[in-house]
């Protein structure tokens, strides 16, 4: 039995992971800067703490974790500017420092493939060591990039602790409520006419398995892309969602969002480039390193994500 701290526990992915750990007999301590959600798994201790404040240190001191799953990257749409920087960059650095201080064996950091950036010059597929381009076009992703790079630096600097950074492609699933899922769940889905880049997705169950595989492995460390089975042009994937599609010329997307405030959280500025240019990652290193084989294909993954399932059913 291990003691594991899971950040971002108010989010669905962290709660699903925590639940699985609980089932295996681990002791799980959940941390989030947000309040405790109404549906919360029994048997998991909850702390409300900003990752950059002293309270998080208390959690480490009190529980002496064996592993830390830092799944709590704050999404661009949730929190603005300084606070997001404090949580994602300053907070993550603090979690890393505390992990070293308390001799944590494994630190898993959930990053995102968005950091590679959607750029017309992108080659296919993108490997983990290649330059990240997101900053060239989207400054909003600067905190996500910094979170990732400082975690990657940690993998080399503190070899006594095993740090694994996961860069998943679009995470979707019936319980997930991120930007991509919101996009798939829009009653009318806008897309860019004349552009149709390939998109990769990873289903929540596959990502959960990936996180557990990393946790259970002993000697692998570093940054890894992780994605589900196959890829589809984005418009083909959107068709699977079943809602009517709204083709828009590139110049019309911003006016459309101004007129449809409901669609705004599903289509933040940085995502527009991802509707234009492909960002295809190679997950070969992760598959080979951890023996990971994704189970859910794009079609099933998208179809299963269209209707949001409440967490109650799982808990």
């Amino acid at each position: 039995m291990a003691t594991i701290i899971v950040t971002g526990i108010a989010g669905s992915l962290a709660r699903l992971t925590a639940l699985e750990l609980l089932r295996r007999g681990d002791e799980v301590i959940g941390v989030d800067y947000r309040p405790k959600p109404d549906t919360f798994p029994k048997g998991i201790l909850f702390y409300r703490a900003s990752y950059n404040k002293t309270r998080i240190a208390d959690v480490f001191r009190r529980h002496k974790p064996d592993a830390v799953l830092h799944l709590g990257r704050v999404a661009t749409r949730r929190v603005d500017g300084n606070k997001r920087f404090d949580l994602n960059v300053v907070g993550s650095a603090k979690i890393q420092e505390l992990s070293v201080q308390h001799r944590v064996k494994t630190l898993i950091v959930l990053s995102t493939y968005h950091i590679y950036g959607a750029h017309p010059h992108n080659h296919v597929p993108i490997l983990e060591d290649e330059p990240v381009r997101a900053l060239q076009t989207v400054p909003e992703l600067s905190d996500a990039i910094q979170l990732d790079t400082q975690a990657v630096t940690w993998t080399y600097r503190h070899r006594a602790m095993r740090t694994v950074v996961l860069r998943p492609s679009n995470v979707i699933g019936p319980h997930i409520n991120n930007t991509t899922c919101r996009y798939l769940r829009l009653p009318r889905i806008p897309y860019l006419l004349g552009f149709n880049p390939m998109w990769q997705f990873i289903h929540e169950t596959d990502l959960l398995r990936a996180v557990l595989l990393v946790l259970d492995s002993e000697d692998r460390w570093g940054a890894f892309n992780v994605t589900g089975r196959g890829a589809l042009p984005v418009v083909e994937a959107l068709k699977l969602a079943g809602a009517p599609l709204v083709p828009l010329l590139p110049g019309f997307i911003k006016p459309y969002l101004r007129l449809n405030p409901g669609a705004r959280p599903a289509l933040p500025g940085y995502l527009i480039d991802f509707l234009k240019y492909p960002v295809m990652v190679s997950d070969q290193r992760f598959r080979e390193g951890f023996g990971f084989e994704p189970r859910v294909g794009v079609r099933e993954a998208v179809r299963s994500s269209v209707t949001r399932m409440p967490m109650d059913a799982v808990l």
Binding site: P120, H121, N122, H123, V124, P125, E130, L192, L193, G194, F195, N196, P197, M198, R229, G230, A231, L232, P233, V235, E236, K239, L245, P247, L249, P250, K276, Y277, P278, M280, G297, V298, R299
Partner: protein, 281 residues
């Protein structure tokens, strides 16, 4: 309806093109796409509607296709004719007359992903962004890649310089050395005269951000119609594969020596082809 739906619905498929695509080895994901977005079921419509008519228009005589080795190879040839139509004709020739049919992957200018619709058409048809890493990944996946090392220099040269190769880039040779890929030299005769340009209209090219704007010889006679290619007859000849060894990251001068071997071979093939050509049309 997406662009892909439009193409599959309204672009009829040529039986010969379709059967060639059906014989290609399957390197696709479970949804029928490769990582670059190539989709044979859509590509066959595009090849039928655009590639095949162009091929018929230029009526190429194709020789030496048996020289294409199985597995990865770099097809290196002369570029001409103001528009990259020579590349399309070569690709259709390899597809229809390769034994087995070969899907040639072309590397395109880096601006193409920015152009609406064209980016979709290129991606589904197997064209990829001209990036060395893309090329290396495609070669390692066993593809045949079409490269014109002269680039726009060759394509946009005026008629006075016809069939004289311009400077070759070194990228293809570094990739051939790095991935141990055979180089198949080929010559295209006939494309030079399809749009005979006498000069490059540089100020307009600069204004448009284009590498060149040709001034066709018959512009005073036909006006804008002179930009339509003439129905010249093409002769495509594929030479024996050439293999090179050495460091891929060697000094430029040493790479240049190897590039010159390929360039000289292609120039010789062009010169020989010209002597055998009965007429331009």
């Amino acid at each position: 309806m997406s662009f892909d739906d439009y193409v599959t619905r309204y672009f009829p498929v040529d039986a010969e093109v379709s059967s060639a695509f059906d014989r290609l080895p399957d390197k696709l994901n479970e949804h029928g796409y490769d990582p670059w977005g190539f989709q044979p079921n859509i590509a066959k419509h595009l090849y039928s509607a655009i590639g095949r008519p162009l091929y018929n228009y230029f009526r190429p005589t194709v020789t030496g296709l048996q020289n294409l080795p199985p597995g990865r190879c770099l097809l290196i040839g002369n570029h001409s004719g103001q528009l990259p139509l020579d590349g399309m004709v070569v690709a259709v020739a390899c597809l229809l007359h390769g034994e087995p049919p070969r899907m040639v992957r072309a590397m395109a200018e880096r601006y193409f992903p920015r152009v609406p619709f064209l980016n979709e058409m290129f991606a589904r048809g197997g064209v990829v962004v001209g990036d060395p890493i893309n090329c290396r990944n495609l070669l390692e996946a066993g593809n045949a890649i079409l490269v014109f090392p002269e680039g726009a220099r060759g394509c946009g040269k005026p008629i006075q310089q016809r069939y004289q190769l311009t400077r070759f880039g070194r990228g293809f040779m570094r990739l051939a050395l790095q991935t141990d890929t055979p180089v198949v030299p080929f010559s295209v005769i006939g494309a030079e005269e399809s749009i005979p340009s006498v000069a490059n209209f540089k100020p307009l090219a600069q204004m448009l951000g284009a590498p060149y704007v040709p001034i066709p010889l018959h512009l005073p006679l036909l006006g804008p119609l002179s930009y339509l290619p003439l129905p010249t007859k093409f002769y495509l000849d594929f030479g024996a594969p050439m293999t090179f060894s050495g460091l891929y990251d060697d000094e430029d001068e040493l790479i240049d020596e190897k590039v010159a071997v390929v360039r000289d071979r292609i120039q010789a093939m062009i010169d020989e082809g010209l002597t055998r050509r009965p007429s331009i049309f």
